[in-house]
């Protein structure tokens, strides 16, 4: 079972390097769509935390114990199982402070259903389903460690 929100608070915490220093933070994301996706259909956007933008190409995504960049996702022959969280790992020296944080991200996908084909065939956009389901996700989350 996952939380009902797309951005999951469960799993939201700072991360540590090999020396025990905080080097960033991570959280989990579960799309609200009614089905799963092949990762090649997914279009990942930037993450913003308290106004600070983390570029989509600086993000590391962990799925099934393996880390990928956004670019690597385009060639990943793997199915993102329905209701299976994807871990977003973000590098930030010192991490986030204990307390509340406004976390938002953009996520879209390509599915050829009741709309036009993807306008950006190179995958640079946010797919072709925004007209029905939007691409923006945000949540205020409480960080404890």
């Amino acid at each position: 079972m996952v939380e009902f929100q797309t951005i999951q608070q469960r799993g939201f915490h700072n991360t540590y390097d090999e020396n025990g220093e905080i080097d960033g933070f991570e959280f989990r994301f579960v799309p609200k769509y009614y089905k799963g996706y092949w990762f090649t259909q997914c279009r990942f956007g930037n993450v913003t935390v308290d106004g600070e933008v983390f570029d989509r190409d600086s993000l590391i995504f962990e799925y099934d114990g393996i880390e990928y960049t956004r670019e690597e996702m385009f060639d990943l022959n793997k199915y993102w199982q329905f209701r299976e969280p994807l871990i977003y790992k973000i590098k930030k020296k010192g991490g986030l402070s204990i307390g509340y944080h406004d976390v938002s991200l953009q996520f879209g996908w390509v599915l050829n259903y009741n709309g036009s084909l993807e306008a950006e065939p190179d995958g640079s956009g946010l797919g072709n389903m925004a007209h029905m389901f939007g691409v923006d996700h945000q949540r205020k989350m409480l960080l404890c460690r």
Partner: protein
Amino acid sequence: MDTKLGHPRRGICLYSYHNLLGKSMTLEDAFLEMYDTGASCFEFLTSYIPNYPNPTPEWIDKYWRLCDKYKLQPSELGHWAENHLHRGPGMTDDDVVEELKQDFRLANLLGFKALRTKITCTNVLCDPEPGWQSYIEKALPYAEKYDVRMQNEVHLPTTLHTPHIKDEYLDFIHRTKTEHFGFNIDFGTFQYRAAKGMEDMPMCHFEDITKPEEIVDFLPYSYACHAKFTYVNENFVEETIPYPEVIKLMIDNGWSGDLLSEYEGAIRFFAEEGPAQFGQAMVEIPEQVRRHQIMLRNILGY
């Protein structure tokens, strides 16, 4: 024409519960819900098969145990004939056929005779991307081998008189003489006005809809239909779709396929927005499906 009265089965699309699945409802919870309604069959989606496209033998055993325990039979498996899974130009026909074969095998393994096969569309009317006939025709021998029937969904705002339905899909069926391609006629195509709470939603255009009598010519090519609904009132009436009229036409014309309750109320768009909305979804979705099943029972008489 076969004038023997039809005897459709009552079923449910698991999709109806999608906002809740994996959040407040397990797969077994959903089976129990469906059992409670008296439905006898169900539509599943490939996405609801854990570890798709390679389910474990343990899960397959569990699935059949659930079907047995809750006396529910597989009806239709929803899947996608995706041909744009990668950046750049579309996939080759052979790649799409491999994708289809994979789902045919799964459908066969899980007991589904019908498929809701989503072919790539290029606009809101679901006009298919040119060239679809090529990979679907190549897939027909495999559909026969695995005993499954691909069904194109006719979904609002598409009507049964939208040109591609006759000019492309029906033409394909007649040309190939196949029994493995047809139509899932979504009852939303008969909807004549917006449901309560959905008046301002962008998909609500009812200037051109399917008339009930249009369904008759398509029944020989339909094995399961999405019994779409957006709101069933406390008297068990769907106020925006002429259910009694359409079902009577189906029965009078000998149709014995599956009517699969598919709930698409407004709540599906905002269930994740906050605790109040999700709480509403937890109550409203199962209740609406139950109401719809009572409505179908009242119309069918069983």
